[in-house]
């Protein structure tokens, strides 16, 4: 079992894990273990004295470029902002259509609107949660300019299929790889298979800050240069770690999406242990699967579908599909076990997209996933015994039906 720091909440020396609640997410023990490293980076930031868009952000960009193999990493304020900036930098024009999956986090589609485009929804694949290339081909129109697959939970979308349809239809590929750090196809990191991708460092992510932060990833020099301007009010020239650069000419209408150096400091410390954290997540995911694959009432577990050839999984979210999902969530909550519903409503049926005129039944796979999916606790701080207890409770719930 993983060593749990005595300073972490809920584990004050006791071995009676039955009594402890199991939060959906915590990184308290990891943070505590990494404190010396985090503190060192913070002291650098305090000495340097520029607290956003500063030297620590530049250092993080370099380290992430090395880790992912991206030619350019552009640090920004959030994964959502990264998507907006990426879409604009990749050349999205007012009114252009971008095809996005109907089953994903809202930002995959809202970023298209905020970048000036129009989202067009496609269904997801039969035994997975990525966009279905055949559905992409079906919904594309002559106004469609881009396709943006999202790599959700533990693996990338069918990128070979997406690339093929994009090539045939002349679409630019941008990737919502917000969840996908550590996922690769044939050795290429997620986000680098088209014009560019993003990372979100939302705290619960595989690489999580303790606040909002994100990044654009790209191998394209022009996309990177535009993204760098857009995040800093559209200003050209050298602005990172350079306060007087605020007087540089404003080249493009941009936004303020500067990353905080405090977050970069935390991220650098966590990046140094990311391989270990990803391995631990995989161990926990396998432990869940071994128990839950056989449980009646559990319809699908992540490991039940082998990854496509050449794909490296990275388990960010452990999402299973079950019968009586809401009752199971209530059962677990009553026993102190946190879960999350990713996602209760598909995007084409969200109130904010009502004007697009979709109806239930338009994207049946996305709707089915929304009805059955539930995410279980999964993070490096989670002890094996907690996985076992979650599995016990799930078994108990279905045995008692």
């Amino acid at each position: 079992m993983r060593k749990i720091s005595s300073a972490s909440p809920g584990f004050s020396g006791t071995t009676d894990f039955e009594a402890a609640s199991i939060p959906f997410f915590t990184q308290a023990a990891t943070f505590d273990e990494s404190w010396a490293d985090i503190r060192g980076h913070l002291v650098d930031v305090l000495r340097r004295g520029k607290f956003s868009h500063g030297a620590k952000v530049a250092e993080l960009e370099c380290e992430l470029a090395r880790w992912t193999g991206a030619r350019h990493v552009v640090g920004v304020n959030s994964g959502t902002d990264a998507l907006i900036i990426l879409l604009r930098a990749a050349g999205l024009c007012l009114g252009d259509e971008v095809i996005v999956p109907a089953y994903t986090f809202i930002a995959t589609a809202s970023s298209v609107v905020l970048a000036g485009g129009v989202p067009v929804f496609a269904d997801i694949e039969a035994h997975g949660y990525g966009i279905d290339p055949r559905s992409v081909a079906t919904v594309a129109t002559d106004r469609t300019r881009m396709v943006m697959p999202a790599h959700l939970f533990d693996r990338m979308a069918d990128m070979r299929g997406v690339c093929e349809v994009a090539r045939r239809r002349g679409l630019t590929i941008v990737e919502d790889s917000a969840e996908a750090i550590g996922m690769r196809l044939d050795g290429r990191h997620a986000g680098l298979l088209g014009a560019g991708g993003v990372l979100s460092f939302f705290p619960a992510k595989t690489l999580g800050a303790i606040g909002d932060a994100g990044a654009v990833l790209t191998d394209d020099d022009r996309v990177a240069e535009t993204a760098r301007m857009l995040r800093h009010h559209g200003r050209g020239g050298h602005t990172v770690d350079n306060f007087p650069g605020i007087a540089n000419p404003t080249v493009l209408p941009g936004r303020n999406s500067k990353m905080d150096d405090v977050q970069a400091a935390v991220l650098l410390a966590k990046l140094s242990r990311l391989e270990t954290d990803i391995a631990r997540r995989a161990e926990l995911a396998a432990r869940y699967d071994a128990r839950l694959a056989q449980v009646p009432g559990v319809r699908a577990v992540p490991g039940g579908v082998p990854p496509r050839p050449g794909v490296d999984r990275a388990c960010y979210v452990h999402l299973i599909e079950v019968d009586e999902r809401d009752a199971l969530a209530a059962h677990l909550a009553a026993r102190g076990i946190g879960t999350e519903i990713y996602y209760p409503t598909p995007l084409h049926l969200q109130p904010c997209f009502a004007h697009l005129g979709h109806r239930p039944g338009d994207f049946p796979r996305a709707e089915a996933a929304c009805a059955a999916a539930i995410a279980l606790p999964l993070y490096p701080d989670l002890p094996d015994t907690h996985v076992d207890r979650v599995c016990d409770e799930i078994e108990r719930f279905y045995a008692g039906r």
């Binding site: 990184q27 308290a28 004295g49 959502t80 306060f243 007087a247 404003t250």
Partner: protein, 381 residues
């Protein structure tokens, strides 16, 4: 000889020198805290309440930056495609970019040559049937003529959006900066009077309906009750708990820091009062509607003055070397042949001197001496 002293920075790196341990402890406490809540949590809610009470506003909503606050306000007031918003021709990029981001068109109005804030008469002359809002901005250390803008907006049936991003501490006719408009904003980027070691801002409003819309728009269009139900296309423009906790600790010292800044600004202006006919015009200091953010003079011979200051160990900064319509990004929105003479003049002459609470009396004296020495020698050439 003064040149042996280290340069007095314009953007000081040691703004939070007294709070190093507080920042480290705050990060550690939030990082290891039992709540594991990092964004829009209890600390943020407390900061919102404290600022709301301090300003006497109906609501204060924390978000990711002052720029983002403007975007949220524009969208919450329904500004969109085909609309025009009158903004100053002189100022910071978000005045135009936020309007464009909302899908509308910025219309640039010239400024008052002394206050350097947008001229209400110039703004009024630009109102058309497509105008939906006026967005004056406070500038450097002077609030815009908000009573006139309030009256104009009411008379013309327009929304009044107050870019008070840099004006924390300003009060005009008893009403704080940020509370003259239908909504106002503050920015907390480190150099601001209530700056912090990160990015953040707030929306200030007495309009509870507007506040509800802003709260929804800052977090992906969710209503705060029904998770993953998105009523509107919203942003990710949230506030981090680390920064909120830090700002709550710093709030107690804000008035003292403002007072110290005012003291230095007043000293500069006393020293510079006689320089007006020697090519250095000091900003109006004291009186109603002033706040001690940036001390900007208008220098007829700006480049030589900057060089003289630099040679004597004083860093200075030109915030706006060009007007907004002269920025490549916004030129497409500037009508051909139009000119903004006061804005253009301000762009040519504005020069800001160091002003921060930990500037010592000796440093302030040296800066003032150096400016005065320049006007003496330059006149003689």
């Amino acid at each position: 000889m003064t040149v042996t002293a280290p340069t007095i920075p314009f953007f000081p790196p040691d703004l939070f020198a007294g709070d190093h341990d507080a920042l480290l402890e705050t990060v550690r406490a939030i990082g290891t805290g039992a709540a594991q809540k990092f964004i829009l949590g209890e600390q943020t809610a407390r900061l919102e309440r404290e600022l709301r009470d301090r300003l006497g506003a109906a609501d204060v909503i924390a978000c990711s930056s002052g720029t983002s606050a403007l975007t949220l306000v524009l969208e919450a007031t329904g500004v969109g495609r085909g609309d025009e918003v009158v903004v100053p021709a002189f100022g910071c990029a978000p005045l135009a970019a936020a309007v464009i981001d909302a899908g509308a068109r910025p219309v640039f109005a010239d400024i008052d040559p002394v206050r350097l804030t947008v001229d209400p008469d110039a703004a009024e002359a630009l109102i058309t049937s497509r105008t939906v809002a006026l967005m004056p901005a406070h500038m450097f250390s002077v609030m815009a003529d908000m009573p006139r803008f309030r009256e104009l907006a009411d008379r013309a049936g327009l929304r009044l959006i107050e870019d008070s991003a840099l004006a924390q501490g300003g009060v005009l006719k008893g009403r704080p900066a940020g509370r003259w408009g239908d909504a106002g904003v503050h920015s907390f980027v480190q150099v601001k009077t209530f700056g912090m070691p990160g990015e953040g801002g707030v929306v200030i409003t007495d309009d509870t309906e507007l506040a509800t819309a802003v709260r929804m728009l800052r977090n992906h269009g969710q209503d705060g009750v029904h998770r993953f139900v998105h009523h509107r296309v919203g942003h990710n423009s949230r506030f981090d708990e680390v920064m909120a906790a830090f700002q709550l600790q710093r709030l107690a010292g804000l008035d003292a820091r403002l007072a110290r800044r005012t003291e230095i600004a007043t000293y500069y202006s006393r020293r510079f009062v006689s320089l007006a006919d020697r090519g250095v015009i000091a900003p109006p200091v004291g009186g109603d509607g002033r706040f001690p953010y940036v001390y900007t003079v208008l220098a007829k011979h700006r480049a030589p003055l900057r060089a003289h200051l630099a040679a004597h160990g004083v860093a200075s900064h030109v915030y706006y070397p060009r007007t907004l319509p002269a920025q490549p990004a916004f030129a497409p929105y500037a009508p051909g042949g139009a000119s903004w003479p006061n804005a253009e003049s301000a762009a040519r002459y504005n020069l800001a001197l160091p002003l921060y609470p930990h500037l010592t009396d000796l440093q302030a004296e040296h800066i003032a001496d150096t400016v005065c020495a320049f006007t003496d020698t330059f006149r003689e050439q």
